[in-house]
Amino acid sequence: MTLSPLQPGDRVTRNAKVVSRWLGEEEGAVLLHLESGQYYGLNRMGWVIWNLLEDPRTFGDLVDDVRKQVEDPPLELEAEVGTFLDSLHARHLVEIEPA
C-alpha cells in the first residue's frame, strides 16, 4: 500500500478512528486504532508530525511546517516525512488523497 513518492499536493488526513496520547519526552506518544484495536508508539518527531495533522493538509505544507519546528532540519527531511506518512498509511492511521 505504498504511495511513495508523495507529491507536494497530496492531501493527508488523520484517520478519525485513531486516538492518541502523549507520554513524555523520553517515551514519545501512543496511538490506538479504535476499529482494529492495534496499538502503536510514536517518537517525539512522530508526535510533532501527528499533531500537525490535526487539520488535514498537503504533504508539501506539512513538510514546510515540520521544517519550521525542527532545529537544523536535515536535507533528507522531506524523504523522512514521506516514509513516515507511508508507514502511517500502511497501518490505516492516516488517509492520503492524491493531488
Partner: protein
C-alpha cells in the same frame, strides 16, 4: 429516563464494595465496612433483553458460542452470563437487579465481577483484570492474565499480614491522584494452594470443584481509596525472582490488554486515555518468578520493596 420496575422498599446498608454502600434484603459475604454511594441490589426477573435494548457486545470461546452478552438500553444494561443468569444494571437509578433463582454465594461472586465492571465504567472509573493488595498504606496492583498466579500471590500477601483490596477485578480511579477503590473481601483458591499457605483468619464460604471461595475476615477495612503506588505485571521465569522497570509505552499496552471498556468509540477512547495516563504516572514493574508456592515469601518481599519505591 424510565427505569425498570421493582417494588419500592427501604434497606439498611449491609456494607461496602467498590465504594458502594450496598442496600439489599439479600445476604452478602464479602462486603467491607464504612459508607459509600448507595447501591440497591434486588433479586428479580432478568430474563431476556430489556425492551428496546440492543446487543452491545458478546464474548465467547469459541467464537459463536457466547459466554457473556451485554445489552444496552440508554443508560441501562443487561448482562447475560452463561450458567449465571442475567444482571440488570441501572446506574442512573443506583440499582443492580440480580437473578432470583441463582445460588446466593455464586451470585455475589458474579455480581462483583462483570456487572460491577459495567457499573464502574459508567461511574468513570477504570476496571482492571487484576488483583490488588495494600502494603503499608500503598496500593499495589498485581496484573496478569488468568492462570498466572495473581490470586495466589494476593493470598500470600494476606498471609503476610497485608490487606487484599481485590482478587480479580480492581477498580482504579485516576483523578485527582491514582487510587484503588477496594473490592470484595474475597479470595478463590485451589485446594493445594489453600493447604500450602494454611490461610488463617478467613472463612470458607463454598467449594466449586477444586476451588474454595474464602471470605477474608481480617483487615477488611472499608472502601476508602488507597493510593496506587505501583503496578506489577506477573511473569513466569524458572530462574528466580527479579523485577525490572517497564517503560510507560510498553506498560500502557499491557495495561490496555487487562482493562475493561465498553466497545464503543467513546468507551475505548476514554479507557485508552486513562490507561496511558496511569502508565505515565504510576511506576510499573515486570516481576519474574517461578510458579511455586515455596518461592512466595521471596516474591512478597519483592512486592514490599516495590511498594516502598525500591527496585531490586
Amino acid at each position: 429516563m424510565a427505569t425498570s420496575h421493582v417494588t419500592p422498599s427501604v434497606h439498611p446498608s449491609q456494607g461496602t464494595c467498590y465504594g458502594f454502600a450496598v442496600r439489599s434484603d439479600l445476604r452478602f459475604q464479602y462486603l467491607r465496612g464504612g459508607g459509600g454511594d448507595p447501591l440497591e441490589v434486588v433479586a428479580g426477573s432478568t430474563v431476556g433483553e430489556p425492551a428496546g435494548g440492543y446487543l452491545l457486545y458478546e464474548w465467547g470461546t469459541p467464537p459463536g458460542q457466547p459466554d457473556v452478552r451485554l445489552y444496552q438500553h440508554g443508560s441501562r444494561y443487561r448482562l447475560w452470563i452463561h450458567g449465571g443468569g442475567s444482571y440488570g444494571i441501572d446506574p442512573e437509578a443506583g440499582r443492580i437487579v440480580v437473578p432470583a433463582d441463582e445460588d446466593g454465594r455464586r451470585r455475589e461472586q458474579l455480581l462483583w465481577s462483570l456487572p460491577s465492571a459495567v457499573y464502574l465504567l459508567h461511574r468513570g472509573d477504570l476496571p482492571v483484570h487484576s488483583a490488588a493488595v495494600e502494603i503499608d498504606g500503598t496500593g499495589v496492583l498485581l496484573g496478569a492474565p488468568g492462570g498466572h498466579g495473581k490470586t495466589t500471590l494476593a493470598a500470600a500477601c494476606y498471609q503476610a499480614g497485608y490487606r487484599v483490596l481485590s482478587e480479580d477485578l480492581t477498580c482504579v480511579r485516576l483523578s485527582p491522584d491514582p487510587v484503588i477503590i477496594p473490592g470484595p473481601a474475597m479470595l478463590r483458591l485451589r485446594r493445594d494452594v489453600l493447604e500450602s499457605l494454611g490461610l488463617s483468619d478467613s472463612s470458607s464460604v463454598s467449594w466449586h470443584g477444586n476451588r474454595v471461595s474464602l471470605a477474608l475476615d481480617r483487615q477488611r477495612g472499608d472502601c476508602r481509596p488507597v493510593p496506587l503506588g505501583a503496578m506489577v505485571f506477573l511473569r513466569r521465569d524458572a530462574d528466580g525472582v527479579r523485577s525490572e522497570r517497564v517503560r510507560a509505552v510498553d506498560a500502557a499496552r499491557d495495561l490496555w490488554e487487562l482493562s475493561f471498556y465498553l466497545p464503543s468509540e467513546d468507551g475505548m477512547a476514554r479507557c485508552f486515555a486513562q490507561v496511558v495516563d496511569l502508565a505515565r504516572i504510576v511506576p510499573v514493574w515486570n516481576l519474574y518468578r517461578p510458579m511455586r508456592v515455596d518461592i512466595l515469601p521471596a516474591v512478597v518481599a519483592l512486592i514490599e520493596a516495590l511498594a516502598a519505591g525500591h527496585d531490586r
